[in-house]
Symmetry: C2
Subunit: 268 residues, 2 copies
Amino acid sequence: MNNNSIGVFDSGLGGLTAVKSIMELLPGENIVYFGDTGRLPYGTKTEETIKQYAAGDIRFLLSHNVKLIVIACGTASSVALSDMRNKFTTPIVGVVEAACEAAVKLTKNKKVGVLGTSATIKSESYLRGISEIDSGIKVYQKACPLFVPLVENGHFNTEVTRLVVKEYLEPIKNEGVDTLILGCTHYPLLEKAIAEYMGEEVRIVNVGAELAKSIGNILGKDNISDKTEGGICEYYVSDDEKGFAELGGVFLERKINGQVKKIDIEKY
Amino acid sequence: MNNNSIGVFDSGLGGLTAVKSIMELLPGENIVYFGDTGRLPYGTKTEETIKQYAAGDIRFLLSHNVKLIVIACGTASSVALSDMRNKFTTPIVGVVEAACEAAVKLTKNKKVGVLGTSATIKSESYLRGISEIDSGIKVYQKACPLFVPLVENGHFNTEVTRLVVKEYLEPIKNEGVDTLILGCTHYPLLEKAIAEYMGEEVRIVNVGAELAKSIGNILGKDNISDKTEGGICEYYVSDDEKGFAELGGVFLERKINGQVKKIDIEKY
C-alpha cells in the first residue's frame, strides 16, 4: 500500500456504509479500513474510554501512512473529534460536521431530528454542530440504543424493528421535523423502516454519504487520485475476521474482496 | 478486604444476578465483583479474545487475594473455563456445570433447551456438559443475540420482547422440552416473558442460582464464613461506574451499597 490512502475507522462494521459512499464518489482512492470489533460497541461507553480507543485506532491507521483519517463512527466523531485534531497533525474528518451541513441545507421548516447511540446523543454534538451554522434551527435528538443490535442481527425491516422504530421516533415525528439525520453508520440499513414511519415528506440524511462528499473538498484537487477506478481497500479488525468478511458485504452492498486481517489494537 | 473473599466476574452487569443468589445463600461471605464494562459484550467475540479477557479479569481478582473465582458470565464459562483452570491454581467455578447438573435432575422427558449468547451456543458447552452426565438427554440449543440488548434497554416484558422471545423460542418449544436453561446471567430479567411463552409445565434453570448452590459444596465447610450476615461486596468496573451503580440495582434487586470503582483492566 502506498502512503496515499484514506484511513477509515469505526467500532465495527457500520463504517462500511461510509466506505461504500467513498468508493462510489472517489473510485480511484485506496482505503485502509479498521473495524474495532474486539472492543465494540463504542456507543455505550464513556467519553474517556472512547477517546482512548479512538487514539489507538488512529495510531494504527497512521502506521499505514494514510493522508487523511475518516472517523466513520458517529460516537467517536461526536465525542473525540476535537481532541484527536489536537493530538494528531494528519487531517481528520468526522461524520458529524458533514451531516450537520447537509441537514441545514435541506430543512425548510427549521426543525431537524437526530438519531444516534446513547453516547452520541449525550455528547449533543449534532445539536452544537447545527446551532453553530444556524442558531434558528430547532434540533430534536433521540438515542436509539436498540438499532445497532437490530442491524447486527439482521432485523432490517421486521415487525420487531418497526415497533422499536415507532417507540424511538414517535416523539420526533410529533414535533414535525422535515429533516432527519441518521447519526450512526449502522442506521442506513434501517432506512426503509425509518422512512416508512416518518413519511415521504421527511428528508433523511445518511452520514456516510455526506462524509464521502466532504472528503473531496478537504483533500483538494492535488491530493485526490486522478484514477477513475481501481481503488483498493484493505480491511483490518481487532476480532473475528471471518464474521466481518461475511457480514461486511451487507453494509458494503458488495462482496468484500481480498483478505480481512486481524491485528492487536491494544499495541497501538 | 481480607484474603477470604469470593471473586466474581462478568462482562458487565449480568453477573449481579449470580451475586444476588450468593448473597442470599451465603450471606456471611465477602465478594469482590468485576464487571468488564469497557470491553463488553463478550458474547459476540471470538474464543481467543474471550480467553484473553477472562485471564486478565482473573488476574485482577487474584490481586484482591480471593479464595475462589466465579465466572458469572455464560460466554466466558463456556469458552474459557478449562483453559483458566489450567492457567491458575485458585479454584474456579463456572455457570455451565452447575446449570447442567440442575437440568439433568429436573428433566423428566429427557429434552432440555438451552438459551445463550452466540459464543456460548457456538461453544456447545451446555450440550457437552449435559451429555457427559447423561448421554440419553436430547439438548436443543438456541442463540438469542438480542436478549442482552433488550435487557440493557429495559425491555423486560414489552411487546418487542415478546416478539423476539417467540422468534427465538418457537423451535425449542415445538421440540417439547420440559426444562430450559437460561444460559446467560442477563436472561433471568426476561424470565417472565420466557416462562409465559413456554407455559407452566416447563421448568426454568437460572444459572446464577445454581452457581450459588454449588459454591457452598466446592468451598467445603472449613472455607465458608460462619457469619450468617454482614458479608460485603466491593464493585469494580472497566468503564462507567455511574451507569453500573444505577442499573446494577435492577439486576441485584436491591440498591448497590458502597462505591463502584473504575480500574484499567488492560494492565492485568
